[in-house]
Symmetry: C2
Subunit: 181 residues, 2 copies
């Protein structure tokens, strides 16, 4: 959970990074950034700031802001009975992103998950994404990512969302964020 | 058809407009802009410059550049036997776009299709899109659009592409562009 004051502060920091990209936003978009702490109440180290630009029911385009060293924890987009699963393209727009998926573990990776949660990070093949670089992740692929030293603004372009069905490796993670009144 | 010299000139003009947006591109993206004349050999008035950023087979994200007054002719994305049809979100990133779809015709519309092709423009409900503004078009919806006085850079975010199945109102239009050697 986060307090309303923490939420407002994170929204404002994210809006400042988003505006560094030069992208065009409507004022209502900048005023409605979702702050996600993944249920861990450690927003500085585990979390993401999410602005959904398009969500039609068939596809979703979001901009995710990661503060420096802020980590979006390892998870998969599962195949569901009636749905072949969410495919996600991550494209870096600003800053630097450390993205990890299955494959040969990268020696001396740039990303460092929170030490006390290290056990829940099981994939270590690194993609360092700089502006304009992108990776597409198929359904059921474990992945996690972290903002680089300046943070990162990244596109998440996916087939239809089923965020609440995402499966996180860390059993303490919950997709919904409680906001304290 | 267009000549290779026309193609190169249009690619360069489009790259200049794309770079005004501040968006991050890889050099290989700026070097591979598609120039489409829709088979009419009148690129200045009917055409579009297309940069595909993501095409996974399940969804497509493109940036379209329209020069001032350049028109992308009226068409639909049909429902196909095995496919419910392409849904398209148009979001303006830079400049101004005159977009037309079904509905009450707008008096004194800003867009002016090429006069000799005027008969093939049948929908006149206007959406004037400025940066950050967007419209989602369902399959089978006739639509056309034109760059404003400065031109436009717009996002086209769609479910899976079936461009060669698009149905144009003007029978002279062809989706493929012949490039003269």
């Amino acid at each position: 959970m986060i307090t309303q004051a923490e939420q407002r502060r994170a929204q404002q920091r994210a809006a400042e990074l988003l505006q560094k990209t030069g992208l065009a936003f409507r004022p209502d978009e900048l005023a409605s950034i979702e702050v996600a702490d993944f249920g861990l109440s450690e927003l500085e180290t585990t979390g993401a700031e999410i602005q959904t630009l398009v969500d039609t029911g068939r596809l979703v385009v979001k901009l995710l802001t990661l503060f420096p060293d802020q980590t979006l924890p390892e998870h998969i987009h599962p195949r569901l009975d009636s749905y072949e699963g969410k495919e996600e393209t991550i494209r870096c727009e600003w800053g630097e992103l450390f993205l990890y998926g299955p494959g040969e573990p990268t020696p001396e990776p740039g990303g460092r998950p929170p030490a006390h949660r290290r056990q829940w990070y099981t994939v270590w093949h690194e993609y360092r994404l700089h502006p304009g670089e992108q990776v597409t992740l198929q359904p059921n692929t474990p992945h996690w990512f972290q903002g680089g030293p300046m943070g990162a603004v990244i596109w998440s372009i996916t087939t239809r969302a089923a965020d609440l069905q995402d499966v996180f490796t860390d059993p303490q993670v919950a997709r919904q964020t409680m906001i304290l009144e």
